[in-house]
Symmetry: C2
Subunit: 327 residues, 2 copies
Amino acid sequence: MPTIKDVASLAGVGIATVSRVLNNSGYVKSETRKRILQVIDDIGYVPNEIARNLSSKKSHIVAFVLPHTRHIFFSELLFHVEEALFKHGYKMMVCNSSENIEKELSYLEMLGNNKVDAVILLTNNDIAEFLKPNMKIISFDRRFDGYPFVASDNFKGGQLAAQRLINQGCKKLLYIGDDSAQGSVSKVITEVSKRRQGFRDVLKKHPEIKLKEIVYPLRDYILKKEELMDLIGNDYNFDGVFAISDSIANTMIKVLTQKGKKVPNDVKVIGFDGVAHSLNNGIEITTIKQNIKRLGEALVELIQRYDEIRKDEHIMVDVELLIGDSA
Amino acid sequence: MPTIKDVASLAGVGIATVSRVLNNSGYVKSETRKRILQVIDDIGYVPNEIARNLSSKKSHIVAFVLPHTRHIFFSELLFHVEEALFKHGYKMMVCNSSENIEKELSYLEMLGNNKVDAVILLTNNDIAEFLKPNMKIISFDRRFDGYPFVASDNFKGGQLAAQRLINQGCKKLLYIGDDSAQGSVSKVITEVSKRRQGFRDVLKKHPEIKLKEIVYPLRDYILKKEELMDLIGNDYNFDGVFAISDSIANTMIKVLTQKGKKVPNDVKVIGFDGVAHSLNNGIEITTIKQNIKRLGEALVELIQRYDEIRKDEHIMVDVELLIGDSA
DNA sequence: TTGTAAGCGTTATCAC
DNA sequence: GTGATAACGCTTACAA
């Protein structure tokens, strides 16, 4: 592998001049520049990133720590985050934490040893105490004191869902969501809990509407049909459902179908995420659509502006009601 | 950030000795070692990875280039590759190429500038000419001259599918798969084409069985219901389907249901991948299950043994018939 | 406009 | 056992 020295001696100049050409910094006589570029081309010289990183103390790598990529929303988010990072000259390192706190911390450690420039953190673990103030961390869907974060407008999402169900004539509603969206029991409270709050907010003005709520342990964000049936028990006395994700909404529709209920005639179901197209079982799920592309861009935006922004800066991304066939 | 020099002077030793302690190389008096470790602990010293990389010319980062992570098989694979890499001390950089050849090449370039130690390449693009012999590339599901690769035993998978459909009494079969699995028209031939070959192989011995084949352009590996209906046209005269992926099988089942056909009574459907549980529409899809975890491990295995292996070494991972409700 | 040389923080090769 | 010191390949003052 040729180095900058090889280029310099072959072009009959000093390495600083070569560096200037490489980085377009400082003045270089156009004739000299041409000669250097020629040599670079001839011998196929490529700058060594590692050496550059050592000098500049930047790696242009961002770590994305998330539970796993099996959940369709996460894999969509992953896609858009990578696109946004790539557009800004960053590479993305991925850590599937599986909610494993040790693995999360091992990736955070890389901030300390210069391996990555920043970490995008998506977790439901109670790790606030491990975050040091000088770490460049951007949180997703969750507030950590002293760090910026990005989230969808979950409150509005909950409101939209409630309004839609009410408009469609539902009288007895069911909310179903996991721990992390509870916002009461668990120590860890994510922004996702606002979906429920927004939902309740609208119901306050409608005392005639009944609401039942089912909350289950988060685990891997996924619920199988049998598990959902266990949670519901025997009480199918509802005509509208707000599920915390499209994945859960999808399972709910399967369960209802199996129980002989027609969706949306007997029961209307609204999900959240807007990724349902790939998992819908015959019908399109009505859902609160997150703007995943924008979420990815917002995360990268905060990384770039990290040093100028306030410690508690955040970007809230708008959501919209996407009307499908289920509600 | 404290450096090795700080540790050395604080412990009253030379940096070489500190380095020895850090790397457990060479002899160090246990007393000195203890003192050094104490200092390291006191000031919270962490070795700078970048500097290490520069010295050792290794980054312990592996790039995984794949079309995108929206396809459920890819996101499962991504998960297991990361797990396997992590277990062996590697970090994973992810590139969603979107089948974009420039983006793929930009990631391959990182091999040249020491940013990554190896690249796992999953592509359907015609990029053989850009691969230089000294690059550490491991291919997935595809042969590139002079590079090792990992693939499932696709041929056997095709055979298993055919046998199952025949055993279940099917007489008129339909094969449906994309370009990349064609193995005839396109310049690029992937190992996936062997699914079809294996399928045909069994049918050779059963001249009484009819076979119709539908081949469509690969694009993003996904087919919508309407698109599939267009491909099928009016000819629903088949009683057994072998789809190139669970995703396609899933869409096929939706289409059949809409056309009033019962699965598996009227038509039996077999998919490929074994990830269908997350997209099944009420019934479990019978499928050829790939051992995705093993595939991930095999890829990492080849990376680790890269310098000892033959240039055309490959690992073929076994598949199995997973009987569900669709065939 | 250009070159020299001092870092960047390690590892590894020598002597001692 | 241990400590200088030379790489590793680049960026960036500072001189010239």
